[in-house]
């Protein structure tokens, strides 16, 4: 669906993106993560046919985005990080303008606009002026505009930036829904938890260079060097900690917020053995669990090397 090959973009002497390679299959949702100024926006703009790359190329459906922008534009939906809205225009007029600009036939326009408003939960604001909407609603409106012409590939640049928690969750729900609709999505963010639950791939970029990319599970497993176990005991926590540290399959153990966090280095399927050992030795266990995926840890681990 999307292939970025050796993409390099230089602004004068500054290299914003340095021979970047990415690959997205249809249906993939890729989290594109990196600190501010890492080159995320530049990459997305090149794919969106808005920037000429210094070298390398990007292909959408095997069509070169730079050579044939007219063919690529109908396939992509781009949502910029900073977007302007036309004031003095109503919500439906705003969408009507883009529907006409994307050559959606007149007889289908009203239906398409209504459907899109339904998806983005803006149907009640159909006749409101764009300038009267809250920031979160404007963001949703921009997303509505982005999916209006039914693009196959969505390029979303920081879609949840600058939103309050509630609007942020609403946008996340919306993105999850779009993922379920089978769209290929490239979504950038500098905040990781935002992406953790609905991306199946991530790419981490720093100073224009791709640090790591691939399936979320693979990357997490590779970086963590083990599974984290979260254990809560009823009593005798200190003794349990000492006991765990002596076990061969436990690398390290510490107490965090009243729970023991232990790094398990054995076979992932056989972690129950630790619980078994604890119980056998008379410890009373209240809970025993693998902690969830923590992309934040991965991110810190992966990017630290580059900076230092």
């Amino acid at each position: 669906m999307l292939r970025i090959a050796d993409l390099t973009k230089q602004y004068g002497k500054l290299t914003a993106v340095d021979s970047l390679n990415l690959h997205l299959e249809p249906g993939d949702i890729m989290g594109f993560i990196g600190p501010n100024g890492a080159g995320k926006t530049t990459t997305i703009k090149v794919v969106a046919t808005l920037l000429r790359p210094t070298s390398g190329a990007a292909y959408v459906n095997d069509v070169d985005v730079f050579l044939y922008p007219e063919e690529v534009r109908p396939l992509i939906g781009y949502m910029p990080d900073f977007f302007g809205l036309y004031d003095d225009v109503k919500v439906w007029e705003y969408l009507d303008f883009f529907a006409a600009s994307y050559f959606i036939p007149v007889n289908k326009r009203k239906g398409t606009i209504d459907d899109t408003l339904e998806i983005t939960d803006l149907a009640v604001k159909r006749d409101a002026f764009v300038s009267e909407l809250s920031r979160g609603m404007q963001q949703r409106l921009c997303l509505a505009k982005t999916i209006l012409h039914d693009p196959k590939l969505l390029l979303l640049d920081e879609p949840a930036s600058g939103l309050d928690p509630r609007a942020r969750i609403e946008i996340k729900e919306l993105l999850r829904e779009l993922g379920n609709m089978g769209k290929t999505i490239l979504i950038s963010s500098h905040i990781l938890p935002e992406l953790a639950d609905f991306c199946n791939k991530i790419a981490i970029i720093e100073q224009g260079k791709l640090v790591i990319s691939g399936d979320v599970d693979t990357i997490v497993a590779r970086c963590r060097g083990g599974i984290l176990l979260k254990i809560r005991t009823v009593e005798r926590q200190e003794e349990a900690l000492e006991f765990l540290k002596k076990l061969a399959v436990v690398g390290d153990a510490r107490v965090e917020n009243g729970s023991i966090i232990a790094t398990y280095t054995g076979e992932p399927e056989e972690d129950y053995a630790v619980l078994d050992a604890l119980v056998r030795n008379g410890f009373k266990i209240r809970s025993f669990d693998q902690t969830g995926l923590d992309l934040e840890d991965v991110f810190m681990k992966v990017t630290r090397g580059i900076v230092s």
Binding site: A48, D88, E93, F97, S101
Partner: protein, 366 residues
């Protein structure tokens, strides 16, 4: 009926999203009403002034009372004054609208969204130009009630009104296209508007004045002028050479834009320098210069070339020379009006073409 049905069915073919959008943005709020009010107010003040003046001037009316022909002359004077006032306001309004068309999209942050649509660049540019000039059309229509006074006084035929309005509208489109070109060339609305106004002033006032001055020189002989004020002559030469080389550069850029070498700055500078020197050499051949000025002014010693394509001059000459006479088409008025209209239309096409190329380049910034 079947025709109407067919048109309704094929509405997609006459879909003008950018125009509709621009109209929605422009016509909402109090601004259009304020603009209309000022426009009509200025025209009303002009009407009152002309009425006052005509009462004070003894040429109008005799001690015995006024005749119909005197009233008709007042009507003609009034129509001329109103037309010029309208043209002045158009020259002030349209360049500002045109020059804001593309830059505001960039400043508002909507440019990327517009750039990614499937609309071809020429359609966006054309629709934006139509939107900018449509407002002028609206303003000229609001001026009709004031013009009613002219019809009441008589002396002006509907054909004359139609032709003057046509000149005004074509000028509006031309100046709008000029503003649009500035809008595509500059990143900020402020600089684009400034450039547009400077160009308009240069075209409407600067060029005619300069041409008059050159004509005076050519009348007195080149060497006479050289002796009288050599710095002025040298200065004019430098300026004319610079402008000529700049214009040539623009045309070369259109042809050469696909050539790799043209993209290097040094090469472009070299071409500019070479054409400048070439032009200076050509200008410094006295025989050639005298021949050229003679070519320009030989046919019409009394009117210079930039005057020929100036809409103000066109309206004045048309109403003064042609006037109500049914044979106006054979005179100087016909030539001036035709030259003005043809020049404006030609320039509009060229400006639109260059704007489209510029806009297309903006859509995929290098």
């Amino acid at each position: 009926m079947s025709f109407i049905k067919r048109v309704l069915k094929n509405r997609r073919r006459i879909d003008l999203p950018v125009l509709v959008q621009e109209m929605r943005i422009r016509q909402r709020g109090i601004r259009p009403f304020v603009l209309m009010f000022i426009y009509v107010a200025v025209l009303s003040v002009v009407t009152l002034l002309v009425a006052e003046l005509s009462r004070a001037t003894p040429t109008f009316g005799s001690p015995q009372g006024r005749h119909a022909s005197d009233l008709a002359r007042v009507g003609q004077e009034l129509f001329l004054a109103l037309s010029l006032a309208q043209l002045v306001m158009i020259s002030l309004i349209v360049p500002a609208y045109g020059s804001a068309a593309v830059t505001t999209e960039q400043e508002r942050g909507t440019f990327d969204l517009l750039a990614l649509t499937r609309l071809p660049s020429w359609r966006i540019i054309t629709q934006k130009l139509v939107a900018a000039t449509a407002e002028v059309l609206m303003l000229t229509i609001t001026s009709l009630p004031v013009l009613g006074i002219v019809f009441m006084l008589g002396g002006v035929s509907p054909l004359e009104v139609a032709i003057v309005f046509a000149i005004m509208l074509i000028t509006a489109i031309f100046l709008g296209a000029l503003g649009m070109l500035c809008s595509c060339c500059f990143a900020k609305t402020r600089s684009a508007t400034l450039a547009a106004y400077l160009s308009v002033i240069a075209f409407l006032a600067g060029a005619p004045l300069a041409a008059e001055w050159i004509r005076t020189i050519s009348g007195a002989g080149l060497y006479g002028a050289m002796e009288a004020c050599p710095f002025m002559v040298v200065g004019t030469f430098l300026l004319v050479g610079g402008i000529g080389a700049f214009v040539g550069q623009g045309f070369l850029a259109l042809i050469m834009k696909r050539v790799e070498l043209w993209r290097t700055r040094a090469f472009r500078m070299a071409v500019f320098g070479a054409s400048y020197i070439l032009l200076m050499l050509m200008l410094s051949v006295p025989g050639l210069t005298v021949y050229m000025t003679g070519l320009f002014y030989g046919a019409h010693r009394d009117i210079s070339l930039p005057m020929f394509v100036n809409p103000f001059v066109a309206i004045v000459v048309f109403l003064k020379e042609g006037g109500a006479s049914s044979y106006w088409w054979n005179g100087l008025a016909a030539q001036v009006v035709t030259a003005t209209v043809v020049f404006a239309v030609l320039c509009t096409f060229i400006f639109q073409y260059v704007s489209t190329i510029k806009f297309r380049a903006l859509r995929r910034r290098a």
